[in-house]
């Protein structure tokens, strides 16, 4: 049974709530009363539950199976975290309640901040960024604020070509010119080329470590030293922190700012595209410029939340501003802290080790059949990268990915990083069992054999999914972005026309 659109089954006079009919009479709306219909369809509660339950069954999630999206870190989402986030003292408190009535919530922020600082070996943390990209922006703005504070108007940010798209977009958004850093043939930043480019115009270098080829940047400390010597700052994209949490602290490698994707490393749910949460840890040099609200460790070792009200008290008056209306993603903080406390310092180290072990196991279980361009570069970290080398002429990475869908799997990340042709980036995470990996390897090997043999049926895969291949070109060429009522057959009433002009 296909599930129709809400707009095809709902009616504007149906409702799934029981509220009183408005009494009418005078009001205080200042003459702005709505007179036109809005056109919002409603459903009774049974119909609503069924509509969304059915829709959900058109989705694939980590609860259903292995979800090997490289760089996205699809790991198990513990249900304890969901339960904790719903405790009334967290879910049912307002961000503007008097501080004395939210002491426990602030303790959550502080406890989490404390862990993030300790795990990264940094000095302070800006908790408010709403997602990874927002955190990047926060970090780059800290760097710009620090440079401006010393009257240094540098204009360039260096970004490796293999970086996440958010890196250059962020630097540009913050008003910088973006220049590429080349990579070595083994998939790492070219230290010599980088050094050659450094100079008084370079504000910062943005490095992803472990990088998007799944490799650890061996020269990280040397890079940091060189950048610092040239008067710039080092931004580290922390999207892949899950590979090294508890094993190495970015602060020890000279990083000045790094965002942490709580949904990746600390398993807050992705929810079909968000919400994320991207706290940014900062070095001593950048900490004074962190935006409000901000969390800092004071001299006595305690951790304090700093807002506009108490910025002076904590000597945090150089904050570059505010990135969002309230305190940040509190609902994600409770989940992340719950996850961290569950694992503890020992468990988090095990997380990194098992994630890396799983990735290397996949790499070595597949590299006889799939080309691993950086296979000889040493062990991978949390993800394994392959190219489409060896596929039959007319079979693409996309075809292989869609073929995997027919095997019951979500595909890996495709065509990223851009430095590898037809890239396939596979990240197993630490929450997959060996049995699950073995089953996946066998499925992927079978599809890869077909790709090498030029099996034409791959080109029309998937065959067994809720939909066959969707026409993305049509969607972009003639965008239909909102429901519009079909022209009504004569005599039939139509639902109110789409609102607006």
């Amino acid at each position: 049974l296909e599930e129709p659109l809400l707009f095809e089954i709902g009616q504007t006079d149906t409702t799934g709530v029981d509220l009183p009919e408005p009494a009418g009479g005078p009001n205080r709306l200042g003459g702005m009363d709505r007179s036109e219909a809005i056109g919002l369809p409603g459903l009774s509660e049974p119909e609503t539950v069924r509509h969304y339950t059915r829709l959900s069954r058109q989705n694939y999630g980590i609860d259903l199976g292995f979800f090997p999206l490289g760089s996205c870190t699809m790991k198990h989402n513990p249900r304890l975290n969901e339960k904790v986030a719903r405790m009334p003292g967290f879910a049912d408190v307002h961000p503007l309640q008097p501080v004395d009535t939210v002491r426990g919530a602030l303790e959550v922020v502080n406890e989490l901040a404390n862990w993030l600082i300790d795990l990264t070996g940094m000095h302070g943390v800006a908790m408010s960024p709403k997602a990874g990209a927002h955190g990047e922006l926060c970090g780059i703005l800290c760097i710009r604020a620090a440079l401006e504070a010393r009257g240094d108007a540098r204009k360039v940010v260096l970004v490796p070509e293999s970086a996440h798209g958010t890196n250059p977009a962020t630097a540009a958004f913050a008003g910088y010119e973006v220049e590429d850093i080349p990579a070595t043939s083994e998939g790492r930043v070219d230290l010599e080329a980088l050094k050659a480019r450094l100079g008084p115009d370079v504000a910062a270098v943005m490095i992803t470590n472990p990088n998007t080829c799944g490799l650890f940047e061996r020269d990280m400390k040397a890079i940091s030293d060189a950048v610092h010597a040239a008067g710039g700052f080092v931004y580290c994209d922390g999207a892949n922190f899950n590979a090294i949490v508890g094993k190495v602290r970015p602060g020890d490698l000279g990083v000045d700012a790094m965002h942490i994707n709580l949904h990746k490393t600390f398993s807050t749910p992705h929810g079909g595209g968000g919400p994320g949460s991207g706290p940014v840890v900062l070095s001593e040099a950048l900490a004074p410029f962190g935006p409000l609200p901000y969390v800092v460790r004071t001299d006595d070792g305690s951790v304090q939340l700093v807002e506009e009200e108490n910025a002076a008290e904590f000597r945090h008056t150089e904050a570059f501003g505010r990135m969002t209306a309230f305190h940040g993603q509190m609902g994600m903080f409770t989940r992340a802290l719950t996850y961290i406390l569950s694992h503890g310092a020992d468990g988090l180290k095990q997380v990194a080790e098992d994630a890396v072990l799983n990735a290397n196991y996949l790499l070595r279980s597949l590299d006889d059949l799939l080309d691993a361009p950086f296979g000889p570069s040493g062990p991978c970290m949390h993800e394994a990268l392959f190219s489409d080398e060896g596929f039959a002429q007319d079979i693409s990475t996309l075809d292989l990915a869609k073929g995997l869908i027919d095997e019951g799997y979500h595909p890996m990340t495709m065509y990223f990083p851009l430095v590898v042709h037809g890239a396939m980036l596979i990240e197993p995470t630490e929450t997959e069992s060996k049995a699950a990996l073995d089953q996946f390897v066998s499925a992927l090997r079978s599809v890869a054999e077909r790709a090498r043999a030029g099996d034409e049926s791959l080109k029309t895969a998937p065959h067994y999914a809720p939909r066959r291949r969707l026409d993305e070109t049509l969607a972009a060429r003639k965008p239909v972005l909102a429901y519009q009522e079909p022209v009504a057959p004569s005599g039939q009433p139509t639902m109110s026309e789409q609102g607006g002009r």
Partner: protein, 453 residues
């Protein structure tokens, strides 16, 4: 470790396949001097689910939950009743644990939901197209200002003084770096919004005018006049709404001339959550502006068999394709909150939304009338929806704290929202929703009377 399936036997077998002597060999690229040798000193070790739950419950109980107080706080986040079925649906593993729908063939659930969500938001805002959501209202507000700059190729934004101060602060913070100019009026405690003052600041260099509706004091500006003035100078009108429930009672910004409508969607389905995650809404009235929009868009298409389906589209605007030329660096949306919003809005439907809005307004009128009768208290607003400003003749920050000790969360003092402004200190913003009982209103009035006397 309950979340880690590998056994020690598994680990040994896997290391053998890899050809590594131990797991540390896999970290060979990490410089030895940086490698941590054991768990970080001073941090606690792993704990059972029961122990962690107990710890978190203890922290939770240190907060005064809204349900346990007489509650009147708003100012950009509102407490509404969220039906239990909403929370049930967002916890379905297929929604909760899915990724961004980059593989549309196995993500039609998320995609159809987003398409429905976009349609709901567009209709609610009286707009042509809405995106698939952003971080929150304040960041959506800045994205709108930035988009107006791209559309008009001008760099001066005029902000109403009655815009939420945190929103204004976010805009100003970002503008510092993009070197946009921000003209921001001062807020004065007047019964009506200062439309004339706002209009007088619009000039030929103005990319956009940003007006909140209802505004931070709860007042309802007539947007038509501002729209006309802005359009005359070639500027866009950006309307900010922080209380979507209001739009069940008042005419939508799109119908009144807004070009971009942004806002906070938290009221519908999401809950308070101490400030996040919330739900940024973003919509435009002019189809031509679609390609300048930030954020994800979901569009309709067909599959190879001609069946209707949905995909993320127009991604050439986005960072993962355009990199430094993207319309925004935004990468995630607020998908799960968008789902909650969409489910709640489906349960409401137009009928329920209108009933909900009028019930909010009815109770707010009762509260305003009750407070206006008190000695030493006056109601500022001539118009309001479910939130209004009272003046209490003394510094409201102190009064709010005193009331909190008595279990009454009385509202937000203007002194907290505008710490640097003059003449606002005796203002108190009072929000009333369907969750407020008439008994709560009486508790507020009598406790306030006690404190003020």
């Amino acid at each position: 470790m309950r979340y880690l399936p590998l056994t020690d036997t598994d680990r040994s077998e896997m290391l053998a396949v890899i050809g590594a002597p131990d797991v540390d060999a896999l970290f060979a690229d990490v410089p030895e001097e940086a490698r941590l040798t054991g768990p970080i000193h001073g941090l606690p070790m792993h704990a059972s689910e029961m122990a962690v739950e107990k710890h978190m419950r203890k922290l939770s109980k240190k907060n005064l939950a809204a349900a346990d107080a007489a509650f009147f706080i708003g100012a950009g986040a509102y407490r509404h009743h969220v039906p239990a079925s909403v929370d049930h649906i967002i916890q379905r593993g297929e929604f909760l644990t899915a990724y961004t729908p980059y593989q549309p063939e196995i993500a039609q659930g998320t995609l159809q939901m987003l398409f429905e969500f976009q349609s709901q938001v567009a209709r609610l805002y009286g707009c042509h197209v809405a995106n698939a959501s952003m971080y929150d209202g304040s960041t959506a507000c800045w994205e709108a200002v930035a988009m107006a700059g791209r559309v008009t190729r001008k760099k001066r934004a005029v902000l109403s003084g009655a815009l939420h101060p945190h929103y204004a602060e976010v805009v100003k913070t970002m503008a510092k770096f993009t070197e946009d100019e921000i003209a921001h009026a001062k807020l004065a405690l007047q019964p009506q919004p200062d439309n004339d003052g706002l209009i007088s600041r619009i000039d030929d260099q103005t990319s956009c005018v940003v007006v909140q509706y209802p505004d931070i004091l709860g007042r309802l500006p007539d947007l038509r006049q501002i729209a006309d003035a802005a359009h005359e100078k070639g500027a866009l009108l950006i309307v900010v709404n922080t209380e979507p429930v209001a739009l069940g009672a008042i005419t939508s910004p799109g119908e009144l001339g807004a070009d971009i409508v942004v806002g906070e969607g938290q009221s519908i389905g999401v809950g308070l959550q101490f400030g996040g995650p919330y739900l940024g809404l973003f919509a435009v009235t002019n189809q031509k502006h679609v390609r300048q929009m930030p954020g994800r868009l979901c569009g309709e298409t067909v599959d190879a068999e001609g069946k209707r389906g949905f995909v993320l589209t127009l991604s050439t605007r986005e960072q993962h394709i355009r990199r430094e030329k993207a319309t925004s660096n935004i990468c995630t949306n607020s998908g799960l909150c968008a789902l909650a919003f969409s489910v709640h809005m489906t349960l409401l439907g137009e009928k329920g939304l209108r009933q909900l809005a009028m019930e909010n307004h009815r109770l707010a009128c009762i509260a305003a009338d009750r407070l206006a009768k008190m000695p030493g208290v006056s109601v500022l607003n001539e118009s309001f929806f479910n939130e209004f400003t009272i003046r209490i003749g003394r510094d409201a920050r102190e009064v709010v704290r005193t009331l909190a000790d008595k279990g009454v969360l009385a509202g937000v003092s203007l002194g907290r929202l505008f710490p640097d402004a003059d003449g606002l200190a005796d203002g108190l913003l009072v929000a009333v929703t369907e969750t407020t009982s008439e008994e709560d209103i009486e508790t507020l009035a009598s406790t306030l009377e006690e404190v003020l006397s």
